[in-house]
């Protein structure tokens, strides 16, 4: 079948495979956290995979992305090695950040991934700065900032939108709207006509789509990325989605109806695109093979991470700062 915007069944299939990897990674991460095999905060991306997959499929290796606390999916979508990420969230030597960052700070600069971030909206201001550097250095790349709907109520987010438009920077803002700001329903704490209107108030063209529909994400992202890449200035993509798990892996869920959460499965972006792939000539056996491959790759990563050594104690003092490092460890 013919698809618009250079899309093809093969490309969609590849995005689907990435989504399976994200799902397997975070379903394990959440479980491992609940079993206390991991420490700290783990924020699963489960249910939101189509957004990272569809957007990152439109990017070149040199394009920067910044992410937020729910960041594993974006890293995998941009090509990060799940094994190095698993080592990281297990706090082990060989982790992509040497085990010193953990779940909220996964990043791989060799892939232009500027990192997940533990402070809501801070990755967005960093992203506009990355775009400013791109401009200053005369580079070809663009920047994508991923963030959640909760970020729209932080001042720096609004500053960053203004900033991007004032300097006409090559950046795509991607709001993953799962309806929740941490443990609070976003609508209950948000004034005004909505997220798209906020972007448009700064003169930034915005598109709103069903973020559980990979095809919709991919098509919108292809258009918006193309506009940003051709120097038309910042663009904004609002993608509605469902956060299947808690804000954190350890989440009592007191703020939402379990029935609402149970209903999310009907919008499963993976099941939906699997159906489309079947309709478009991909065999069930192939899809089954994809799922097994993703599960196997994550199982291997887990085995590696669980067996790996912790960072040695000298790592405590490395990479703090150069000035004074020798005398003030």
């Amino acid at each position: 079948m013919s698809l618009p915007l250079g899309l093809s069944v093969e490309r969609i299939h590849a995005m689907y495979q990435r989504m399976l990897l994200m799902r397997a990674f975070d379903e394990h991460a959440g479980l491992a956290r609940r079993e206390n095999r991991l420490r700290g905060s783990v924020h699963e991306y489960t249910g939101q995979e189509a957004i990272a997959a569809g957007v990152c499929a439109m990017l070149r290796p040199a394009d920067y992305i910044s992410s937020y606390h729910r960041g594993h999916g974006h890293c995998i979508a941009k090509g990060a090695d799940p094994a190095a990420m698993m080592l990281e969230i297990y706090g082990k030597a060989g982790g992509v950040c040497g085990g010193k960052g953990g779940s909220m700070h996964v990043a791989d600069f060799s892939l232009s991934i500027l990192g997940a971030n533990g402070v809501v909206a801070d990755g967005v201001t960093i992203a506009v700065g990355a775009a400013q550097a791109v401009r200053l250095l005369g580079e070809e790349r663009i920047v994508v900032a991923f963030f959640g709907d909760g970020a729209l109520n932080r001042g720096p987010m609004l500053e960053a939108l203004n900033w991007a438009k004032v300097y006409d920077l090559p950046i795509l803002f991607v709001c993953e709207d799962n309806g929740y700001s941490d443990h609070t329903r976003t609508a209950s704490v948000t004034a005004g006509p909505g997220i798209v209107a906020r972007a448009e108030a700064f003169g930034i063209p915005a598109d709103s789509i069903d973020g559980n529909d990979l095809l919709a994400v991919a098509c919108a992202a292809a258009l918006l990325v193309g506009e940003v890449r051709t120097g038309k200035g910042p663009r904004f993509l609002h993608a509605t989605t469902c956060r299947w798990r808690g804000h954190l892996a350890l989440d009592r869920g007191l703020y939402r109806d379990p029935e609402e959460v149970a209903g999310y499965a009907a919008q499963d972006p993976i099941a939906r695109i699997a159906g489309w792939l079947l309709d478009n000539g991909v065999a069930q056996a192939t899809l089954d093979g994809d799922a097994a491959a993703a599960a196997g790759r994550i199982a291997d990563a887990v085995a590696l991470a669980e067996a790996a050594p912790c960072p040695d104690e000298a790592q405590l003092f490395t990479d703090v700062q150069d000035a004074g490092a020798s005398s003030w460890a």
């Binding site: 700070h105 990043a107 500027l114 506009v128 550097a133 250095l137």
Partner: protein, 326 residues
């Protein structure tokens, strides 16, 4: 170069570094046509264009956040926050991002950013425009903290800060902008973390920095006339601070007096005093002393503001009292 002001010295350093390295740029409020609050950016936008001398909205979080993003993506931004008081509007980005990015990302990235936050009193600027917050930043691992006291240092240390791959909190003093001094335009960057002995003396070690250097030197002169020889150390960099120079001096004099304009309670003088007490207790001939502002907001009324300032007479009397103890 000859004799220029402290503000002109900073302007010269930035200009030279921008000429030397096209990756260096500056951003902040009012640094374009206005040339900064003290003229420290005057005409630089004309020379380097609005993409390298960037006038920004009043958006401190994004001034700082975008500088971090630009720093980790191959440029070397110089951030102007105008007053240290407004640096607090960007504290999250400084503390949670700039200071930690290299460490928490496992050394994948450096954050070569200079964060200019002028400190100190400036004739009636009152509670929200007069603070000396240097100790706050010293407390944060990952940051370098610099506080130049002379035009020559504001030139050589700013050069060093711009060339540093660590994030540098660069704290000029607002009342020093118009002070003048000899500046060698060809001076090399000053090493970060190295203090300067501004006056040699044998009876007492006075450690100070930034806006209190002048009064400390005047006080040392006055003390000399009363027979007390004061060694004045200008710390120049608060983190890392030059422990060797301070320790060597205190080991000789046996007396330590720290003078700063910041609030005394929890000020950086406490750290210096504690380090000396921990390491040189046996060499001390009397208890160390600190002079700083009282723990009040800075008042507007002139006589009240004056009470917050450490007076040269206080420095002299403290020095004499310490000598009298032993």
């Amino acid at each position: 170069m000859g004799v220029i002001t402290y503000a002109q010295a900073a302007r010269l350093a930035l200009q030279q570094e921008m000429q030397r390295d096209p990756r260096v740029w500056a951003l902040g409020e009012d640094i374009g046509p206005e040339g900064g609050v003290a003229g420290q950016y005057l005409d630089l936008q004309r020379e380097f264009g609005r993409h390298r001398i960037v006038d920004t909205p009043i958006s401190e979080s994004t001034i700082m956040g975008s500088a971090i993003g630009a720093a980790i993506c191959g440029t070397r931004p110089v951030v102007e926050l105008r007053y240290a008081d407004f640096g607090l509007c960007a504290a999250d980005e400084i503390v949670n991002q700039a200071a930690k990015a290299r460490y928490m990302l496992g050394g994948q990235v450096r954050v070569p950013v200079v964060i200019r936050q002028p400190i100190g009193f400036r004739e009636g600027m009152a509670a929200q425009h007069s603070q000396s917050t240097e100790a706050w930043w010293v407390h944060i691992p990952g940051l370098v903290v610099v506080a130049p006291a002379t035009p020559a240092d504001n030139h050589a240390l700013l050069k060093a800060a711009i060339r540093s791959d660590d994030p540098v909190i660069y704290m000029e003093h607002k009342e020093l902008w118009t002070t003048t001094g000899e500046v060698d335009a060809q001076a090399a960057p000053a090493p970060l973390g190295r203090a300067a002995i501004r006056r040699e003396g044998g009876d007492l070690t006075l450690v100070t920095w930034s806006g209190m250097l002048g009064d400390s030197l005047a006080a040392a002169e006055a003390a000399q006339s009363k027979g007390v020889s004061v060694e004045v150390i200008d710390l120049r960099t608060l983190w890392p601070w030059d422990r060797d120079t301070v320790f060597d001096s205190v080991a000789r004099t046996g007396r330590l007096l720290v003078v700063h304009q910041a609030v005394k309670v929890g000020g950086f003088g406490a750290e210096i005093t504690a380090e000396v007490a921990e390491h040189l207790f046996g060499a001390l001939r009397c208890a160390p002393r600190r002079l700083g502002a009282p723990r009040t907001p800075v008042p507007y009324a002139q006589p009240l503001e004056a009470l917050c300032r450490v007076a040269p007479t206080q420095i002299v009397s403290s020095a004499l009292a310490m000598l009298a103890e032993t």
